[in-house]
């Protein structure tokens, strides 16, 4: 990192400090936590776009896979639902695997010209056969106490485990998707991944037996000590007093956020360290060579498609980890909140602003964009509220504009993206050439 990069980070730190002093430390700590998660997502996307030149417009989908994993890992199982439909679901899964195996075997057995028709017939047959068991099972599961459960529940394991598993699930999905979609032209890949992410969200939203769908799963277990314990712990109160806080409630909120920040920081450092190592290794040089001129790299004997698959899987794994972390922080799974603008394209703005191909840049971009994204809301209110004062206190247009002010942050993000692309296409901390 250059001295200019260090300056940007110093400015960022000052901005966070100012937020703490002038707004509240609670807000500042909340922003820092989300900045760290955003930085990890940006690192993941940077691996794909910055190292490999892959246009992944499906970041949202892999975030959501991590999120679902976090929920499934941590929530206790719903025994009744398992009794009602667990066997049916398991049978359906087994049949799904069997169908895939049969198709793979059949494709080897039949002559080449019959391959496509045989595959299509087997897919259709398998589809209907699985549904015979699947549909009744889901109906029985969803009928079990729908107001509170209505799903299978999870495994009741510590939620921190999902930070690893979320990455693995996202990586597995990425491998399957990459097998099909990589090798497409760059912008076709973008369209395909955008589509995949919409499908993943649709599954999470509507497969109620698995995720409760739009009814959300709330009160996920948290990886922090119960708040009541701190409330009565003398050592905690004395620490809080030492820092000059006489409000124990606020102190507890800060303490919770600090624990998350420490956990997130550890993950960020680990991922960052690996990313840097990878980037500086011969592997990283090869990836950049493929990105800059894939034909030349292929002529040198590099296996372009499988290297692309590799970065795609790695990047998605990192995004999946961030998704699991995000759900852990929120303490709930809310499928309706996943929209591409927030979870795909915002991450793109982070990477492009920070500097594609530079991990420091990705982190900086994650911090700046999340900070601006959050602060744009109160600022927009204040700004539009003041500008429109000339219309009179309660003019209808003024009220309408104030209520819509929050959406101006989309406009701001677009302007940032376009400005950076035009005037500093290599980002704030450019890739070292």
């Amino acid at each position: 990192m250059t001295s200019r990069g260090a300056l940007y980070f110093a400015i960022m730190a000052a901005a966070l400090l100012a937020t703490g002093i002038f707004q509240s430390w609670n807000v500042a700590f909340g922003i820092i936590g989300m900045c760290l998660i955003s930085a990890i997502m940006a690192l993941g996307l940077n691996i794909q776009w910055g190292y490999g030149g892959l246009l992944n417009f499906g970041v949202m989908g892999f975030t959501a896979l991590g999120a679902v994993t976090a929920m499934l890992v941590s929530v206790p199982p719903v025994t009744e639902a398992w009794e009602a439909g667990g066997a049916g679901i398991m049978l359906s899964l087994a049949l799904l695997v069997a169908t895939v195996v049969v198709i793979l075997v059949a494709r080897r057995m039949v002559p080449a010209h019959l391959r496509t028709p045989v595959t299509v017939v087997l897919v259709i047959l398998g589809f209907f056969f699985i549904r015979v068991f699947y549909v009744p099972a889901t109906e029985r599961i969803e009928a079990v106490n729908p107001a509170e459960t209505g799903f299978l529940g999870g495994f009741g394991l510590p939620i921190l485990l999902s930070w690893v598993l979320g990455g693995l699930v996202a990586a597995g999905a990425a491998w399957l998707i990459g097998k099909v979609a990589l090798g497409l032209r760059a912008d076709y890949l973008a369209i395909a991944t955008l589509g995949i992410s919409e499908i993943i969200i649709a599954i999470i939203k509507y497969e109620d037996w698995m995720t409760r769908g739009v009814r959300n799963v709330t009160d996920l277990p948290r990886p922090v000590p119960p708040e009541m314990e701190l409330w009565v712990a003398e050592w905690f109160v004395s620490i809080a007093t030492f820092f000059g806080s006489d409000d124990t409630r606020a102190a507890i909120a800060l303490a919770m956020k600090s624990i998350f920040i420490v956990l997130f920081l550890i993950v960020l450092v680990v991922i960052f360290w690996f990313s840097q190592r990878a980037l500086k290794s011969p592997w990283g040089r090869m990836m950049r060579a493929i990105r800059d001129n894939r034909d030349a790299a292929a002529a040198m004997g590099k296996d372009v498609t499988s290297r692309h698959l590799q970065v795609f899987v790695l990047g998605c794994a990192v995004v999946g980890v961030a998704g699991a972390m995000l759900t852990t922080l929120d303490g709930q799974l809310t499928p309706t909140t996943y929209i591409p603008l927030r979870y795909t394209f915002l991450i793109w703005v982070m990477v492009i602003l920070g500097g594609s191909g530079n991990n420091w840049g990705a982190i900086l971009g994650g911090f700046i964009i999340w900070f601006v994204w959050v602060q744009a809301e109160p600022f927009g209110h204040w700004f539009i509220g003041n500008v429109t004062l000339v219309m009179g206190e309660d003019h209808w247009l003024r009220e309408h504009m104030i209520s819509g002010a929050v959406y101006m942050r989309y406009v701001l993000m677009g302007v940032i993206l376009l400005t950076v692309m035009r005037f500093a296409p290599r980002g704030l901390i450019p890739e070292r050439s």
Binding site: G53, L55, F57, T116, F127, R131, V135, V180, A181, L184, R185, A186, D187, Y188, A190, I191, A192, L194, G195, I196, E198, I199, A202, I203, K205, Y206, R294, I339, P340, L341, F345, W348, V349, I352, M401, S403, G404, A405, Y407, M408, R409, Y410, V411, L412, M413, G414, V415, L417, L418, M421, R422
Partner: protein, 338 residues
């Protein structure tokens, strides 16, 4: 009789809605394919341009309704449509001037242009939500039906009725007019021929003295007009809601690629293939099969391949299959090199 009932049922629930939907997708896909063919990039902001145009049309419609203007039995939004078209054209031209022209002159890769369209997507999505809000808006006034299912049953004595909503008929009429005008323009006029030449081979077109700026400008004007029309018709037929227009990109892109990039005829065919597949795959065929089978017999399940929630999956599967099996599309379009 049973056969007629089955056909009527299918017409009412599949054929008519899918035709109207297909026409809306076709108008959108025509714009995407023109830009893909002439500027050679996937325009991800197209959905938001549509949204912006429809929003302008709706705002003007509200204004007219406030003034007491009405063209009953037709919906007032038809009068708003020209304003929507002008707004969308203004957006595309300004966007080209401010954003895309620079990159065109730099001769950047298609990826950079696609990325720039994401910036435009953000700006337009924000503006639309700021101006009209994220909620859904219903703008269909005027007569609801050309013929209701009840009237149809009375007329024919069948058990199943065919209802045709006025908005569906309007969609089809306007879409046909727009497409005929577009194809006439592309085939017969000088400017249209220049556009096709430019789309086929840029260097050759430039050598023959075609003015690239003019071609690009006309392409944006047509794209904006079609986008606003498509979105206004969609909003009349269903409902206007800003978030839909990012999701609708998927069937539009699927139709574009299925038809062959830069091939307007292909885009229309592709749009109808996508729309019919989507509606048929998500339709429950239970009653249809019931009519065809022996008396008082109906299958137990709904005979629905996929729940309507997964309709994107249909476009997506079409998209992937086309890209893997025949990347040039039905009508051999261009496969732009990496």
């Amino acid at each position: 009789m049973e056969l007629l009932n089955a056909i009527a049922l299918l017409t009412n629930f599949v054929l008519i809605p899918a035709t109207a939907y297909g026409a809306q997708i076709a108008l959108g896909a025509l714009g995407v394919t023109l830009i893909f063919g002439i500027l050679r990039f996937a325009n991800f902001s197209h959905g938001e341009v549509m949204s912006f145009g429809a929003m302008a049309a709706i705002l003007f419609t509200w204004f007219l309704q406030g003034q007491g203007v009405s063209i009953h039995p037709l919906p007032t939004a038809l009068l708003g449509l020209p304003v929507g078209i002008l707004a969308a054209i203004a957006v595309t031209l300004i966007a080209d001037r401010v954003v895309f022209r620079y990159y065109r002159q730099q001769r950047v890769t298609p990826i950079t242009l696609a990325m720039a369209s994401i910036g435009l997507l953000f700006v337009l999505a924000g503006l639309v939500r700021f101006i009209i809000g994220p909620e859904h808006q219903n703008i269909a006034d005027g007569e609801r039906f050309l013929i209701t299912a009840f009237e149809f049953r009375e007329m024919t004595g069948l058990d199943e009725g065919i209802g045709i909503r006025q908005t569906q008929a309007l969609t089809l009429v306007i879409a046909v007019i727009a497409m005929v005008a577009l194809f006439w323009f592309l085939q017969k006029t000088r400017a249209g021929k220049a556009m096709r030449a430019y789309s086929d081979n840029v260097d050759l077109a430039l050598l023959s003295g075609i003015n690239p700026d003019r071609v690009v400008m006309i392409a944006w004007i047509i794209t904006g007009a079609l986008a606003a029309t498509a979105a206004t018709l969609y909003s009349l037929d269903k409902v206007y809601q800003p978030f839909i227009f990012l999701q609708i990109l998927l069937p539009i892109f699927a139709a574009t690629i299925l038809g062959g990039i830069g091939q307007p005829v292909g885009a229309v065919i592709g749009a109808f293939v996508v729309a019919y597949s989507e509606v048929m795959v998500t339709y429950a065929f239970r009653r249809f099969i019931g009519y065809l089978g022996p008396a008082d017999w109906a299958p137990e399940s709904m005979v629905q391949l996929m729940s309507t929630n997964y309709k994107f999956a249909v476009s997506f599967i079409i998209l992937v299959v086309v890209l893997l099996v025949r990347p040039t599309g039905i009508i051999r379009g261009k496969v732009i090199e990496r």
